[in-house]
């Protein structure tokens, strides 16, 4: 089934849309949720929540990248769960990712957070400055929460090359934030 056919089912409010969505995207959404939450039950709950939110959002939403759209919902849901669970209950793998990201943030934590729209704009602008390879590696690590080794296997490179790329991207992010005078 193509994305257009699936979206047509959503528009017709045909509940088969959910069955097909689960068949087409269920595995990858579950994997993403597990990567972030490291908890099978919570991940399952997160994926089911994704289907419900997609059902409610389409239409009027008409995503051009269905998989990415659903992944975004799953990711938001997983982060929401993490936020509710509190810092103490986050798994070690996720804590490592958070600490890496913390390295490249300017120390302006008392400043008010940027508006959501502004944040979305500058993060897209930052991603556009990276090379294709660097951007993919950056997103696999900080969007999909993949381990360094998994990224290396995915892109046929060594672990150290992935680490180097991530380090450079974080440095680029810090430079970008300082240059744009973005206070986090």
């Amino acid at each position: 089934m193509t994305t257009d056919e699936l979206l047509a089912l959503y528009r017709l409010r045909d509940e088969d849309a959910l069955t097909h969505t689960a068949a087409l995207y269920g595995d990858r959404l579950h994997r993403l949720a597990v990567q972030i939450l490291h908890n099978e039950q919570a991940a399952e709950e997160c994926v089911n929540d994704t289907y419900l939110k997609a059902w409610n959002a389409i239409p009027p939403a008409h995503p051009s990248h269905m998989a990415a759209y659903l992944s975004q919902i799953t990711r938001r849901c997983a982060f929401s769960m993490l936020e509710k669970a509190g810092a103490q209950k986050r798994n070690a793998a996720f804590v490592a990712i958070t600490e890496e990201m913390q390295e490249c943030l300017p120390d302006h934590r008392l400043e008010p957070p940027p508006a959501e729209v502004e944040f979305k704009e500058w993060v897209n602008a930052f991603l556009a400055t990276l090379s294709v390879d660097a951007r993919r590696i950056f997103l696999r690590r900080y969007w999909f929460a993949d381990s360094v080794h998994d990224i290396a296997v995915r892109y046929h490179m060594t672990d150290s090359k992935v680490k180097t790329s991530l380090h450079r991207s974080r440095q680029a992010l810090l430079t970008f934030l300082e240059k744009e005078q973005i206070a986090l």
Binding site: A68, Q72, P113, N124, R136, R140, F144
Partner: protein, 213 residues
């Protein structure tokens, strides 16, 4: 905003970036790696072929151990003996044949193999070295060539300290072990002493094959 919030907010990036990162990339074509692999394979094949399947009538040529490979010729291997083997020899007496140490060791090492040796020949008449006399050297080369030896020469001319013309003819031969061992009995002129040594310079391509006039 802390790192957690930044990571959380990344959810809202352009979906095109997410879709791109979700693609399983095909293994990239890496021309440099391919070229390197092909060259390595070619070298390996060439080495194997040259060692084991040298053309009929053109057995491997052994040169001095001071050289690993002579790129100008189809040399197959080199004598893998002690490096920088030097010795001081007395000029061989008339009719005698001297094989220097490295050549003697190489003959022992390759005794069971069908190889030839790239050797330099110094010819000693009673009063010095024949190689300084162009005409006499040419005559000796002609004699050796007529006996069936593969003789090569490399001529060098220069002006001496007193302005006199100087000349030296380096005589090299491609010889089998049997030819070397039998040289004294078969080919040595009783007026001269002969000294053979393994060399790598001049190479075969540096020299001119001596043709009988």
């Amino acid at each position: 905003m802390n790192a957690f919030t930044v990571l959380q907010s990344l959810s809202d990036i352009d979906p095109a970036y997410i879709a791109d990162a979700e693609q399983i990339p095909a293994r990239r074509f890496r021309p440099r790696a391919l070229i390197a692999a092909c060259l390595a394979l070619l070298c390996l094949v060439a080495a194997v072929v040259s060692v084991f399947t040298h053309p009929a009538g053109e057995p491997p040529l052994i040169t001095s151990s001071a050289l690993q490979k002579d790129a100008d010729t189809d040399l197959i291997t080199v004598y893998d003996g002690p490096q920088y083997l030097e010795a001081c020899y007395a000029a061989p007496r008339d009719g005698d044949v001297l094989l220097e140490i490295e050549l003697t060791l190489a003959l022992q090492q390759y005794e069971q193999e069908d190889v030839r040796y790239w050797v330099r020949l110094a010819i000693f008449p009673k009063d010095g070295c024949l190689n300084f006399d162009e005409a006499a050297t040419d005559a000796e080369c002609a004699r050796l060539a007529s006996l069936g030896y593969a003789v090569y020469t490399h001529k060098k001319n220069w002006i001496g300290y007193w302005g006199e013309d100087k000349h030296y003819t380096t005589v090299c031969l491609k010889m089998s072990a049997d030819e070397l061992r039998a040289f004294e009995a078969v080919a040595a002129d009783r007026r001269f002493g002969y000294a053979f040594e393994l060399v790598h310079t001049p190479t075969v391509s540096d020299c001119t094959r001596y043709e009988i006039p």
